[in-house]
Amino acid sequence: MEFWVIQTFNGLSYGALLFLLASGLSLIFGVMRIVNLAHGSYFLLGGYVGLSVVWRTGSFALAMLAGGLAVALIGVGMERLFLRRLQKQELAQVLMTMGFALIFQDLALLIWGGDPYSIPTPAWLTGSLRAGELVFPRYRLFVIAVAAAIALVLWLFLERTRAGAVIRAAVDDEEMARGVGINVAAVSMGVFALGAFLAALGGVVGGGFIGVYPGSDFEILPYAFVVVIVGGLGSLEGAIVGSLLVGLLDNFGKALFPELSYFTLFAPMAVILALRPTGLFGRA
């Protein structure tokens, strides 16, 4: 029993971290049809900026905000100055985001060196809660709470506000959206900024959990893609369900069949894709 509770909790907390990363990736793809291989770099850079802010100010909340905003700016720059020139050229866009990912990797190495770091977390988030034999690290609870809050805000924003409706319109039918006077270019920029912000926020939150170190960008990126592919591109519900599914599958796979841990993660993904090629919540 203890095993199942703890493993479910672990899976949820890792899934929560993946959600922060994957929701942005999914949004960006939904609106702009860009497969952004630099998305892991936003996670990495967010973590590093957050680390510097915590070192200077000691404030974790400020680190989350600063990390997110700094990387959102980078995202806007990438979109406005580079990706926009390659509209509708998928291959060129993928290559360009790959190039950016490599540049960001070297840039991070240059600025922060290659030593691994862990973002110092506030005292009230260290340690763990105990219930009998069960131990719940406080920080993991915090990660789940942040992801839940973000999911709720995103859902309200997309479903209940005018700006959200505009984004949904751009996702569903770009031409029609243009036709009714929606400035799709501005929407694209906003969505790109939001996606980068969320990934960087994930980087800061993840920095207290899995650390900040060179290579984390390409380690976490495949997971984000699995989430988005399983959940369906461009769908918030898909990102939520997908990240929980991947977090739990990954966790139980590693716990129950450690020798087969990649198989237990990717085999269900293959099955889902075979049955629903657009993912669980994707629309053709």
Partner: protein, 412 residues
């Protein structure tokens, strides 16, 4: 008669033009090629290696045994294919006399056959793959670092005898390095009478150790871990957060708390006991001097990556002094190199066994906080430990190389 005179004249002329200094003296500086990752996840550790070698050469004013030294550094990216390409560039393009590095065992194994084919002497300061100086040893490669199992052998017995642990669960990197370090410990710990009851191998790049921590057996006396870098940092932290630190002592391979990662660790690392051939606070006079100079220049304590590469420089110097600066006569140089017997390497005394691996001290270290900073305090020293521990080399080499399944886990 005329003919004889002619021959004499020729001989005299020949003598006149015979160089008065040995041939190598006119070949210019000794070129040292360094293979090291400068980009990618291992770049920070590669930087430690470069820092240390540059520090050594600067101390020597880039002159050894009367000859100038030219250091050429190439980025191997920690990848075997790149390493091989860069090794070719160093040897065939730059004409280096000696290769030092790399860091990654995969690169080390990949360039070894090439080094053999080109007959270039190589000094391996970090790569610890057992077979580099065992079953697949090369006449051209001399190791100034360690073999993976070397610190683990005495440590396994020591843990049984002194910490009195009887049952241990292991967790470590799922590739040769993790298997070999764990296997050395496994072997001597069980030969002393202990039991290894679990071996877990998380894949490379495991971001969340949660599923493994939940699986670790709690009915043991200690957990033995083999990690380094970001994985070590994460594992120690998540281990403490899962509430395991209060319940189970943590011990492990030396890289787990080596200075390259210890500087990023927090109090969760306190009390971890590991074994390695170095610690930044080893009390030898040479180490005090080295650690001080290194810290003054680079603002951090030297890691084993740094010390190992520094010692490559020290060994090169000793060998060159023995040959009078001759590195072009490769066999003569290699023979001199293998006879190098250092009494004052930072890590302590060091000489080579017949297989090209150092015989050296092994330190049991415990992480403590001194002056607000974490350090690997030496709590026991094993002098003159060879890669074969107390086994006979021939018998040792008859066994398969340490792996995931060797020695077999009888009590798992």
């Amino acid at each position: 008669m005329r003919r004889t005179l002619g021959i004499v004249a020729l001989v005299v002329a020949g003598l006149l033009f015979l160089p008065s200094t040995p041939a190598w003296a006119q070949k210019g500086p000794i070129k040292v090629g360094m293979l090291v990752p400068q980009t990618g996840p291992l770049a920070a550790n590669g930087k430690d290696m470069i820092n240390a070698l540059e520090l050594f050469f600067e101390e020597q004013k880039y002159r050894l045994a009367g000859r100038d030294i030219k250091l050429i550094i190439e980025d191997d990216e920690g990848k075997p294919a790149t390493g091989l390409t860069k090794a070719r560039g160093l040897v065939e393009g730059q004409g280096v006399h000696l290769i030092t590095g790399p860091l990654s065992a995969a690169v080390g194994y990949a360039v070894a056959p090439y080094i053999d084919s080109k007959k270039v002497p190589a000094l391996y300061p970090i790569v610890s793959g057992e077979d580099i100086t065992q079953r697949k040893r090369s006449p051209y490669i001399v190791r100034v670092g360690w073999s993976s199992g070397q610190p683990s052998h005495p440590f396994g017995k020591w843990v049984y005898d002194n910490l009195k642990y009887r049952k241990i669960a292991m967790i470590g990197y799922d590739f040769a390095f993790g298997w070999e370090v764990a296997a050395g410990f496994h072997r001597t710990f069980e030969e002393a009478g202990g039991q290894v009851v679990q071996k877990l191998w998380p894949p490379l790049g495991t971001a969340d150790f949660g599923p493994y921590l939940a699986q670790l057996r709690r009915d043991v006396d200690a957990i033995y871990a083999v990690f380094s870098g970001a994985d070590a940092l994460r594992f120690a932290k998540q281990f403490a957060e899962a509430g395991l630190k209060e319940r189970l002592p943590l011990i492990g391979g030396g890289t787990f708390t080596d200075e390259h990662v210890l500087r990023s660790m927090g109090d969760e690392a306190l009390g971890i006991v590991t074994a390695l051939h170095y610690s930044a606070v080893v009390g030898t006079p040479a180490n005090r001097k080295f650690a001080q100079a290194y810290e003054a220049k680079y603002k951090q304590a030297p890691s084993y990556y740094a010390e190992g590469t520094y010692v490559a420089g020290v060994a090169l110097k000793a060998a060159l002094e023995a040959t009078g600066g001759d590195i072009e006569s490769v066999d003569k140089f290699l023979a001199a190199l293998r006879r190098v017997d250092l009494s004052d390497a930072p890590r302590g005394p060091m000489r080579f066994d017949d297989y090209g691996n150092p015989v050296q001290n092994i330190y049991v270290r415990k992480v403590e906080k001194v002056g607000g900073r974490l350090q690997n305090t030496v709590i026991h020293t094993f002098p003159n430990i060879s890669q074969f521990w107390t086994y006979k080399a021939e018998d040792f080499l008859k066994n398969p190389v340490y792996s995931r399944d060797y020695p077999p886990c009888k009590s798992c």
